[in-house]
Amino acid sequence: MFDTVANAASVRYRRRVWVNRLMLGLTIGSTAVALVPLVLILSYVVRQGVGALSVGFFTETFRPVTIGVAGGAGGVLHAIVGSALIVGAALLLATPLGVLAGIYLAEYRSGPAATVIRFCTDVLSAMPSIVVGVTAYVLIVQRTRQFSGLAGSIALAVLMVPVITRTTEEILQLVPQSMREAAAALGAPRWWTTLTVVLPAALGGIATGVLLAMARAAGETAPLLVTVLGNNQLTFDIFGPMQALPLLAYRYTEQPFAVLNEQAWGAALILVVLVLGTNILVRALTRRRAG
């Protein structure tokens, strides 16, 4: 009797082992396939872009190229400065809005207003970026009759706010309810609890959300096409047309000059390094927080 049971079990047991191995193999295989594009993109961008890198690439601006004349390539300093200013201004606009909205959703979550805001935030975060760009074009560029870095910043900020809002909300919800009750039981008003108890405990996570939103916005091209227009000169004037790295990469790819095509890859490399660097920084930050 015992033997029969043991044998039957062992046949089933062996099958189970094989099914387990098969499934494990499938999951590993799928992961590998999913990683292939990332590795391909990374290696290709590095291979193509590394040739464009030189001191001049970072310190010079656009230099006109003439057919048949071998000349210096110039650099993308104007795009680096433009991207920094546009994304920086977007960050200044989006961070307070996003963080405050996140606090509202997490700390005062009940009520129809919170539900509506949460829904709108989700819709906004799925909004195609070109739609945001065109809206910014109609509402800002057309009305002011001026392409400007600031219009691009506003468009990027609109894309960043939902990311920051939802990250802030999620992080704040991780702060134990018992900490809020501890403060409440001491006679703390709610705003005080939020400001001095909940927010400090969540600061690292909120910074993570802001950084990820920034990295995403820095790579956006579509909203910039119709708002900041592009500029071949170095400018610090955020109220006029500017150049930005993704925009430059897009424009230079269309050019018939190999020198500019190579610079497009160089700009792409800077963007990839920026995104990669931000993610690594975020991982380091969150790991330190966890440990």
Binding site: S110, P176, S178, M179, E181, A182, A183, A184, A185, L186, G187, A188, P189, W192, V197, P200, A201
Partner: protein, 272 residues
């Protein structure tokens, strides 16, 4: 339960003249569900009153109604009155924030503020009442001494509160509550997350606090109630699932000569 004859609640608490808190028909709801059936009870001044009973009897809910923390739960509702020195804490114009400075609370899980140091955790209530920074140190020391924690932390007041053990953290939370000098201290199973040695220290501390404060403690542990409480309130869920006070009186009487059949069943371990 079917064989137990229904018995009327037996309340033998001190008269209102000795009461610090008086509950008058206090009824607590979560949405439409009644969590605590109408309760009328006096809680004597400068005594330890324990609330015992099985899970789901509404002990914690009742406790949290005494500093108006109950109403912070979405959907929570309150009927009836709670008089603190004769004044209804649910009356118009009573600010729950100010009430909570008179009625402090210690929770089941030690909940020090994670981002603050040991000293800051104690002084946080002082910060709230607007005591100037340089005057806080003396009160912090007083509270830590009173909570029997001073000797263990005097050399590391600026260390994070998380560097303390569970038992120390709970005494820190008690010190934090004492620092604002409340009149009443509510304790929600303050020792249930602690080991026996830490528990015994907390129990000694509670006994000592009764000289100056009115203590109301919820506990699952009947022996604990017997050890530390002057008065004991026994709650149990009724047929509708709402918690109700079945018996209340001097601790010794409750444990040796209960008047109510359900109390006797509970303390002799026949249910609960």
């Amino acid at each position: 339960m079917a064989t137990t004859p229904p018995t009327a609640p037996a309340i033998r608490m001190p008269p209102t003249s000795e009461a610090h808190l008086v509950l008058e028909g206090l009824t607590l709801r979560y949405g439409a569900r009644i969590a605590v059936a109408p309760t009328t009870l006096t809680i004597p001044r400068h005594r330890v009153t324990a609330i015992i009973g099985p899970s789901g009897a509404g002990k914690s809910t009742l406790l949290r109604a005494l500093n108006r923390l109950h109403e912070t739960v979405p959907g929570a509702g309150v009927d009836g009155r709670v008089l603190l020195d004769g004044e209804d804490i649910y009356g118009l114009g009573v600010d729950p924030i100010l009430l909570r400075r008179r009625v402090g609370m210690v929770f089941q899980q030690p909940n020090p503020l994670l981002t603050r140091s040991i000293a800051e955790n104690v002084s946080i209530g002082l910060e709230l009442v607007g005591m100037p920074r340089r005057e806080r140190a003396a009160t912090v020391e007083w509270a830590l001494r009173r909570a029997a924690l001073w000797d263990e932390v005097r050399d590391r007041l600026d260390h994070p509160a998380t560097s303390l053990s569970g038992g120390q953290q709970q005494r820190l939370c008690i010190a934090r509550t004492l620092a604002v000098r409340p009149e009443v201290i509510l304790m929600d199973e303050p020792a249930s997350a602690l080991d026996p040695i830490a528990t015994s220290r907390i129990e000694d501390l509670i006994r000592e606090l009764a000289s100056e404060f009115t203590v109301v403690i919820v506990t699952h542990n009947m022996q604990q109630a017997a050890r530390i409480a002057d008065y004991t309130v026994f709650m149990t869920p009724n047929e509708d699932g709402a918690g109700e006070v079945v018996e209340a009186g001097p601790t010794e009487e409750i444990f040796t000569a209960p008047h109510n059949q359900r109390t006797e069943d509970y303390i002799t371990g026949r249910f609960g």
